[in-house]
Symmetry: C2
DNA sequence: CCCAGATTGTTTACCTCGTATAGCTGAGGG
DNA sequence: CCCTCAGCTATACGAGGTAAACAATCTGGG
């Protein structure tokens, strides 16, 4: 385990006891846009790797690494990262903390597993193709939305995905697996990109996803935190806003949640840029919008 | 410029190790590019907020919040985030841990302070203007490089900047202060952007910076960790790479560090996009939102 | 100069956490 | 029926955050 790695474990909400019921009231923006196709609630198919936990106390039936890691994901989703301790996770599985160590060498390793299992949900996503079927743009579109779906499904896990040090420097978050890197590079190089261009695209694409999704998740995180943290953790008070008239004036716009549209437009812009990179001067023609069946 | 006294690329990998394989060899990438103007080593002016203590030997002389938070930043820079504990920080200041609590209510609050003080280095940067002097593009350019300088100066702190929940949902990392949000919005709205466009630009700009810099810092973090973590934390072994021929083939390209150029080009591209957004003189204006099912 | 009160740092102590180690328990094989 | 051993529990230790009581130092009014 890396001794001096960045650890966002302690960033986030203090452990709250009550379960978070619903969205905060009074917000101008409704973060749960019912038209956002990447939001978990608006999605039909149950491609959830972490299914079936049943009764918490009677979770018996044989522990194994996958069950433990899945439970950890579920726990983080519900209680937040800082609340995940070995003892609590053990309890959630109806077992003492030390029982986990038979399958998981350490908490750090457990978190690695959490990241891995969450990112691997991409493989189970029927709308994401491991190899392009309708051109590289469609491929990148689907991949991007797949990652976004993951981020929105596990907002409390995504910061981990973003900040955990990757196995190799060039395995960049959020596409943290060699298989996807290979898939990405293969998709582009077989569609007219040179090696250099493919690598460049890989980098641009990674940072685009990372920045956008981290911000989107953070935004939702704040909304969530505001609920189970009745302490009122240093929210911006009205008085402090006095010296910032523009912020005040534009607050309705700033608060507005245009995540889907924004993501979509930025993504298209990025793809356009990559397209130009590939074929400089030529007019780009074929473009396939993402069909979400 | 004695930029690279040590080469972190292969510092932790003795030859024939077998663990790190051929990845680290070659030294294609030099993360300490002596031509990168944003790297701390290549910068002259001492705009370091944490530099202002005359007698470092005797850490005494009155504790106060700023001194504590500054020490925390220095400590994280040197030892990494997980190593920062109240006791160790106290010791670094020549004081018991509990003494800190007279000035800092909690560790969480201390970390908030760390983020704040680091981000506030922007104010002390003579190359960043709080208000545009040579047009909005120059303003954004300078601001971006200012933030990048901060990220590179405090790579271990930046993940904190990225992931700590902001005070309000619309105070987005990495520009985490109301003053800069105001500055940004003001700069754009006074240069031909409508309110909507300014807010949109603010969002795009934030995620661009966040994604790029987080990735860049992570990359360096990996290299750094490889040094002080002789544990050899699960680097990608050569054998695992077998099923990924393209990754192997493109490894030299993937390993290459083109941070400056890459940042610069992506930034220019973003500015170009914002420019088009502002003056829809050229084609390509509104794109329809994703089809609602 | 003396001393009450405020400042500022220290000591002690409690609780939680990660995790090492040893103990228990029940199923299957001899 | 006992041995073995996988799978879990019990116990324990050190580190960490932090509350509360305590001590040392400084302050200004008599």
């Amino acid at each position: 385990m890396p001794a001096s790695s960045t650890d966002p474990t302690d960033a986030g909400a203090p452990p709250g006891d009550g379960l978070t019921g619903q969205i905060a009231a009074g917000g101008v923006a409704d973060p749960d846009d019912p038209t956002d196709p990447d939001l978990p609630d608006n999605r039909a198919g149950g491609t959830d790797v972490l299914a079936g936990q049943g009764a918490p106390a009677s979770g018996r039936g044989g522990l194994d690494r996958h069950r433990i890691v899945s439970a950890a994901v579920a726990y983080i989703d519900e209680q937040g990262l800082p609340a995940l301790t070995m003892r609590k996770l053990g309890a959630a599985l109806g077992v003492e903390a030390m029982a986990l160590y038979r399958y998981v060498p350490s908490r750090e390793d457990l978190l690695d597993g959490v990241v891995e299992i969450v990112v691997d949900e991409l493989f189970a996503d029927p709308d994401v193709y491991i190899a392009p079927r309708h051109g590289w743009e469609d491929y990148l579109q689907r991949l991007a939305h797949g990652v976004r779906r993951i981020a929105l499904a596990h907002p409390a896990v995504f910061p981990l995905v973003a900040t955990r040090p990757p196995a190799a420097p060039w395995v960049r978050p959020p596409l943290r697996s060699l298989r996807w890197v290979e898939s990405f590079l293969s998709a582009l190089t077989t569609h007219g990109f040179t090696h250099e261009q493919a690598v460049l695209a890989y980098r641009a694409y990674s940072s685009f996803l990372l920045g956008h999704l981290l911000l989107e998740v953070a935004q939702r995180g704040v909304a969530i935190n505001a609920i189970d943290d009745p302490d009122g953790a240093a929210d911006v008070s009205a008085g402090e806003l006095a010296p910032y008239p523009l912020v005040v004036e534009l607050e309705p716009l700033l608060t507005q949640d245009e995540s889907v549209t924004e993501f979509e437009e930025s993504l298209e812009s990025l793809l356009a840029r990559l397209g130009e990179l590939q074929a400089p001067g030529s007019n780009r023609s074929r473009r396939r919008p993402p069909s979400t069946p």
